[in-house]
Amino acid sequence: MAYRKRQKYEDLIAEKDLKNLPLAFRFLIRRETNTIGEMYSYVRFSTSKKLGTCSLNNYTDLTPISGIFISEEK
């Protein structure tokens, strides 16, 4: 497989401040926030109290089998 894509790296941090940081901060790629989730299924959220937690409950676009997560509110 030939990796040919030329990447554009963002200068989020000034050069003078990069000295003691991991190299990762020299190779940052910028993407639109709503596209992040690569490798993940996109999920919806509900606040169903059935799980007894204060967390948001994540479920996929497929209709949940229990019906529990089709909530109430987001």
Binding site: M1, A2, Y3, R4, K5, R6, Q7, Y9, E10, L12, K19, N20, L21, P22, L23, A24, F25, R26, F27, L28, I29, R30, R31, E32, T33, T35, I36, E38, M39, Y40, S41, V43, F45, K50, L51, G52, T53, C54, S55, L56, N57, N58, Y59, T60, L62, P64, I65, S66, I68, F69
Partner: protein
């Protein structure tokens, strides 16, 4: 009646709730807890009895199995007026306090069946590769260095090199845009961005892959997906996450050769990992290269794309283990 305890994140941890979906379907008792619950729910830890009670539920007595899908994280607990450095210190030390409570809570539940084990929540990539190499798996050559001249020499030896964060570089959201570092091929332009001396960094030989394989591993069982991309493309990224949603990227169910499976099983047993998301590369010469394992990796997308229904599999496995766990 036994109960499964699920430790997870409040949001953006998508693997957890589809599993709970199936536990609800099977009407099997469980309780999900996120770190924020410790600030809002009644918690009692009785050191004399060694018992943990949360919201009236005695976790010590009721729980047999703990399904861990990430839990600890830094909370921004102070929301008052900005006190400059003091604000940072308040938040940092509040999190240290909370983590101490969590460590004690985990200690009191240590005899339960943990998936994965607490020692495996975060494992060192290079330790894993070192162990994999010793067990006979092919792994990429790598160095950790602070010197550009050593990097250049390494590149001369292996030809193509990538930079990858050793542990974690997360996402940095600034509203409409988010920044992150992915596996980075060291082209000429990328090399020019690297100074003469730098932070200790991990560089690896770039393996020329025919395709990549993502495996969800659970207790000796493999659910493998091959990621097929066009062989020659100017739009190819080294990091599959950047090509994930491209129309040319195909995910297909895949069967690993038995000898590779056996070595991976050995590796997982050596690392004391019951489960994990594993990345492997299949090369044109037929060799398989092991890249990494994430004990709490994501599995939902490959599961959906290859019709594995992994959340159902996990829930059934948890129920069976929980029922048979003797406390």
């Amino acid at each position: 009646m036994p109960m499964i305890l699920i430790l997870s994140h409040k949001s953006y941890e998508q693997g957890t709730d589809p599993v709970l979906e199936w536990l609800l379907y099977y009407k099997y008792p469980f309780r999900k807890i996120v770190i924020e619950d410790l600030l809002t729910t009644h918690l009692l830890i009785d050191s004399q009895k060694g018992e943990v009670t949360l919201d009236g539920v005695n976790l010590t007595k009721e729980v047999h199995t703990v399904f861990y899908r990430r839990f600890k994280k830094n909370l921004s607990v102070y929301n008052g007026i900005d006190l400059g450095n003091v604000t940072n210190k308040i938040n940092k030390e509040s999190n240290i306090e909370l983590n101490a409570v969590i460590d004690f809570l985990f200690f009191l539940l240590k005899d339960k069946l943990w998936i994965p084990q607490t020692t495996a929540f975060s494992i060192n990539k290079e330790i894993v590769l070192f162990t994999a190499r010793k067990l006979g798996l092919n792994v990429p050559r790598s160095i950790v260095t602070t010197s550009k001249s050593e990097l250049i020499e390494f590149k001369r030896q292996v030809k193509d090199v990538i930079y990858k964060p050793f542990e974690l570089i997360s996402y940095y959201e600034t509203g409409h845009y988010t920044y992150s570092c992915y596996t980075t091929p060291l082209s000429k332009a990328a090399m020019n961005r690297i100074p003469i001396k730098f932070f200790p960094s991990l560089f690896q030989e770039l393996i020329d892959a025919e395709y990549e394989i993502r495996i969800f591993y659970l207790d000796g069982h493999f659910y493998s997906s091959a990621v097929l991309r066009p062989q020659f493309s100017n739009e190819h990224n080294v990091d599959i996450k950047l090509d994930f949603d491209k129309i040319e990227t195909d995910w297909v169910a895949y069967e690993l050769p038995n000898e590779v499976k056996e070595k991976i099983k050995q590796l997982m047993n050596t690392l004391k990992l019951i489960t994990g998301s594993i990345d492997i590369i299949k090369c044109k010469d037929g060799k398989y290269y092991f890249l990494e394992v994430n004990p709490v990796g994501q599995y939902l997308a490959p599961s959906y794309l290859c019709n594995y229904n992994i959340p159902k599999i996990i829930s059934e496995w948890l129920i069976e283990k929980d029922k048979n766990m003797k406390i």
